[in-house]
Symmetry: C2
Subunit: 229 residues, 2 copies
Amino acid sequence: MADKKLETTVDRVYQGVYQAISNRSLRPGMKLGEASLAELFNVSRTSVRAALKQLEADGLVSSEPNKGCWVSLPSDEEIRSLFETRRLIEIGIVTELCRRRDSAAMQDMREHLLLEEEARRNHDHQRLIHLLGEFHIKLAEALNNPVLLDWFRKLISRASLYVAALDDERHDACRDDEHLRLIEFIEAGNQNAAIELTCFHLAAIETAIVESAGKLKANYHPLKHLIET
Amino acid sequence: MADKKLETTVDRVYQGVYQAISNRSLRPGMKLGEASLAELFNVSRTSVRAALKQLEADGLVSSEPNKGCWVSLPSDEEIRSLFETRRLIEIGIVTELCRRRDSAAMQDMREHLLLEEEARRNHDHQRLIHLLGEFHIKLAEALNNPVLLDWFRKLISRASLYVAALDDERHDACRDDEHLRLIEFIEAGNQNAAIELTCFHLAAIETAIVESAGKLKANYHPLKHLIET
DNA sequence: CCTCTTGTTTTTGTATGCAAAAATTGAATG
DNA sequence: CATTCAATTTTTGCATACAAAAACAAGAGG
């Protein structure tokens, strides 16, 4: 996704809804009425529609013709697929990184780990969550592959959406030292260990999500002043 | 992507432009003026915009704010990224298939190979091309993973777009027996051989594309009666 | 001959309006 | 009390209209 310097209206709506979904102001299953959103953002329905279509392409929003849009409410099957895909991709990423032994990139990763530690020390839970997710994206960035990175971000967004649907304090899926250990494995070129750890890591997250996925199922709410603009 | 039974207007435009790009009626670099397309399809610019946005999400179309859209003209870097990504994914797919040893799925693949043979015997070049591409998608289908499949299709579309930009008779990248050999490797669970063959296979395609990529570079045409509706 | 300016034309971005489809309400009936 | 059906309201799909930005073209000045 190239940077569009000019902040266009539909981008504002897109970002706003995107944030609202991340913030869990908008939860899976909620209806996204065009008129309501248009009023919320003080824009026309046209722009809202464009933004929603983009969100749908990202998989964060589902739609049906003549019915409208909702925040995606993933089926168990979708969650499974998504994490299987993540596993497949991340194994590929880690394998390639092991092959390359790009020490500069790994140095970057270590700096990221410092940030994680800092957040953990300061008990900045919000920031820690964000950084833990960011770690996986930075791993993808290290490949220097815009095509893969672009799509991987979307994949992570969807996974985050599902995580965000969980009960409040279930985000502890990333255990303290796993990220560090992964980096060490990669630096050592220990491909098998890196892959195994990756699988374990993702399986833990998936399990947490699937467990609490049943809890929400189709609770549609009217959408009120949930979005801070 | 769930089937939308109801054929909506923007979908018609989307499909039309999509086809036109596959048909090579629309070539990389061509401008996609909203007004022209609207006239071509006898729809409003609104619908055209929506369709274009969707195509942009697929990576087939690029846009810049206040400038408009054109058929994606990939840089060498993008082509490289795309095929590196394809390699990463297809290795993952093949690895997983080797692990599963799903003989039913492999039987399906063999039936597909028969179709390829038939087309080759009949010298139905057009159909052969199509089937050769379809092979890779069927491989992904065998995983039973809608999330991955959905994205993989888009990836293949982009690769096809680049291939389609080539000179007419350069599509011979898929050598005769490689698909068969791959299936045999998978059935035998010979993971290493399958991976190696996959890499070789993709590298051949990529090389062909990169070689002739320089030839087109930024030849903008006016868009005339290129799309049959 | 090239470059810069400026006025015109074209094209995009967004809002509004209208028709068609879906959801909702409420009364009538079993 | 539940159910069905019709009238009403709401919501979506699409086209049109207008404002703003960019592309273009012609002429002035170097």
